[in-house]
């Protein structure tokens, strides 16, 4: 009996595996293959969808211009973009990136979205020595593993928190806010939220005369009731309220915050708050919220404006930072390939390491990488204004208005 069963097992395995196509060999490349696995379903599907749009827009634009000029072949080569759905699952993500590298034979990898997914699948890029660039993973820990082939154009969440705190310091120095300030911070219980809280705590510890932490709480995703947290917030008697939450929890928390008629001199949800969906969900309750983000469509640089218009035209919705960073990821990768003048993976990797791209849509306009592969550029800070408007309050080069600090009481 057992032999028969083993036989069935093995013959089935053979049959199943033989459905996979055999390897092909290409001499003169007729296209450059860029591959990525995005969370198009599952918990991160909203952001994954944005990234897909950004990637597709960039690839179409480049292909409309004939492709990427590669000196080694003396011509422009169009891009073939492969996007897989990793279902917001780590194991699937790793498997798909392996597929992209081995079976689809990509020339380079574009990043996914979401710190856990990225932390997991970047091992594939490093393992096979394929250059990998992402615009969707900001946690510093991703880049602290001594990996040579992994690059990111998102500055870290830690830096985001620091930027926010530095801005608060500047408000104190300008006399708008007092010293010391009592700060309550809460963050979703993910690496994103943890890094945010840690950043805030670091700055407070470094300047006790300016900041006192009176509350520091993590919370589980998908809150059903923000009351316990907000009662704690109320009892902490803080001056400044900082939080890190994704859209669903931001909605739950801030709605209840408004209903409870809570007030703080500054309210910020980190990168959240100024995008359209967030404004729509809260209406005027989201007025005066300060946010700190990697990009905003009102940034007045030519590159940012160009993208904002193009995106709005193509997809009939306002541009958010997700597709903007995705779009730029493709452009930076294309530039790296052009600079490498070849499709040799280690040459592309070196080109990325030496990258110094100007006129980028990222804040500060310049793309370059620290030795660990992560960009270290600046953030843009916004404040929501009544009438569904948003003003840019930092950095000074792009600011459109002075921040209203402390925010007015209702």
């Amino acid at each position: 009996m057992r032999i028969r069963e083993i036989f069935s097992l093995i013959s089935f395995l053979v049959l199943a595996f033989s459905t996979l196509p055999l390897a092909e060999v290409m001499a003169q490349p007729k296209e450059i293959v860029l591959g990525t696995a995005l969370p198009l379903t599952g918990g991160q599907s909203r952001e994954g969808g944005y990234f897909k749009k950004g990637y597709e827009l960039a690839v179409k634009e480049i292909n409309d211009g004939g492709g990427i000029p590669i000196k080694e072949y003396g011509k422009n080569i169009p891009i073939k973009l492969i996007i897989y759905d990793d279902k917001s699952d780590n194991t699937t993500s790793v498997q798909l990136y392996e597929k992209l590298v081995t079976q689809d034979k990509v020339n380079a990898l574009l990043g996914g979205y979401g710190t856990p997914l990225i932390t997991a699948h970047t091992i594939v890029a490093e393992k096979y020595r394929v250059p990998y660039l992402n615009g969707g993973g900001a946690t510093a820990a991703i880049y602290q593993r001594n990996m040579k082939y992994v690059f990111g154009i998102l500055a870290s969440i830690e830096k985001l928190a620091h930027t926010l705190m530095d801005w608060v310091s500047a408000q104190q120095d300008a006399g708008h806010l007092k010293k010391p300030l009592k700060i309550s911070v809460m963050g979703e219980n993910t690496s994103h939220g943890k890094e945010f809280r840690q950043g805030v705590l670091d700055k407070s510890k470094a300047a006790p005369a300016r900041f006192q932490i009176v509350m520091d709480e993590p919370f589980e995703l998908n809150l059903k009731d923000a009351d316990p947290l907000l009662q704690k917030l109320k009892a902490s008697d803080a001056d400044v309220f900082l939080a890190d939450a994704r859209l669903a929890d931001y909605t739950t928390i801030h709605r209840r915050y408004t209903e409870l008629r809570l007030y703080h001199q500054i309210v910020s949800y980190g990168p959240r708050g100024s995008e359209k969906a967030a404004r729509d969900a809260l209406g005027e309750a989201s007025d005066y919220i300060v946010s700190c983000n990697w990009w905003h469509k009102e940034v007045p640089t030519p590159a940012a404006r160009k993208f904002a218009e193009k995106y709005a035209q193509t997809y009939h919705e306002p541009a958010e930072w997700f597709p903007a960073l995705a779009y730029e990821t493709v452009r930076v990768m294309a530039k790296a390939m052009e600079m490498a003048a070849s499709l040799d993976k280690s040459k592309i990797r070196d080109a990325l390491a030496k990258m110094d791209m100007k006129d980028s849509l990222v804040v500060g306009g310049r793309v370059w990488f620290k030795p660990n592969g992560q960009i270290d550029n600046d953030y843009v800070m916004m404040q929501n204004l009544p009438g569904a408007k948003v003003s840019l309050i930092y950095p000074p080069e792009v600011a459109t208005a002075k921040a209203i600090v402390p925010i007015p009481k209702k």
């Binding site: 599907s45 219980n189 709480e217 993590p218 009662q231 709605r255 969906a277 209406g283």
Partner: protein
């Protein structure tokens, strides 16, 4: 740290209303058919999306939307029972678990295809409106949900205790064969029960859409919490669900004083396991034992 305890308790009571409303359907279907309805999450999610369409796209009054949604899902529930679930009534429990799980997956995919994975939120004139009672701010939406929770409890008790169908449902739950012998059309009864259970789930979903932002994955954490509540309440009784909701909500709210808020859910699940192992009759069983002694 001086926490406003009365406010905390009030919000916990309102939350209990929410918990109860989202658990009745689960308890009814389990009580009558001994089926754990994993598609409950999918129905809540669809209820939310349907409410979105009615309120945002068609401009309907947010509290009127459930009036249309609930009967729709009642019929859907009957169809689901008649053509699909009835086939596995006599199969081992894993069949119904897997079947309804599969149905849930299909429901999710349909939502992804139609609505994409974007998070949606419904904003109405009632969204942030509150009223003050003794200095405590009460959200209108949550009060409505609480009210519905109470209303549902009363109606269900009335229905199960004093109508023919209700009594037939209880009889079938107790002993299917005997019920057939006394002339009850058990097939029809089960269809009705399943339909009502699904309708209750859609009611919960359409109301929760006013409070929470949602996407096709919505309902999963509510389903898991619903298990905790139904088990705590004694698995089969509506009053048990109400009691279980109250106990759980208050325990969660008070636990903030001693443990991390992030561990609230852990407490719920630990309670789930402990109750299952130690007091299978749930709280109601405990109470009944108490009253008998």
């Amino acid at each position: 740290m001086h926490i406003d305890l009365p406010a905390l308790i009030v919000s916990a009571i309102l939350l209990a209303g929410l918990y109860a409303t989202m658990s009745y359907g689960l308890a009814l279907i389990y009580g009558v058919m001994k089926i754990v309805n994993l598609a409950h999450a999918g129905v809540m999610m669809w209820g939310a999306y349907l409410a979105f369409i009615f309120i945002v796209n068609l401009g309907m009054n947010p509290f009127l939307a459930p009036v249309l949604i609930v009967p729709t899902f009642f019929f859907l529930g009957i169809l689901l029972q008649r053509y699909i679930v009835s086939r596995i009534m006599s199969a081992p429990p894993i069949s119904s678990l897997l079947l309804l799980f599969g149905v849930w997956l299909i429901m999710q995919n349909i939502s992804y295809l139609i609505f994409s994975g974007d998070t949606r939120a419904i904003t109405t004139p009632y969204t942030l409106s509150t009223f003050l009672v003794g200095g405590i701010s009460i959200s209108v939406n949550r009060l409505v949900v609480f009210g519905v929770g109470i209303l549902a409890l009363v109606s269900l008790r009335q229905f199960l205790g004093h109508t023919y169908l209700g009594k037939a449902i209880r009889a079938t739950a107790q002993d299917g064969e005997a019920s057939k012998l006394v002339g009850i059309n058990t097939q029809w009864v089960m269809e009705m029960a399943f339909g009502i259970g699904i309708a209750l789930a859609s009611l919960a979903g359409s109301l929760m859409a006013l409070i929470f932002a949602f996407d096709p994955d919505f309902g999963r954490s509510h389903l898991l919490k619903g298990f905790c509540i139904v088990v705590l309440g004694g698995l089969e009784s509506m009053v048990g669900v109400a009691l279980g909701s109250l106990v759980l909500a208050i325990a969660e709210a008070l636990s903030v004083l001693w443990i991390m808020p992030a561990m609230q859910d852990f407490v719920s699940f630990a309670i789930l396991v402990i109750v299952l192992v130690v007091m299978p009759g749930g709280m109601l069983g405990l109470l009944q034992k108490f009253l008998k002694t």
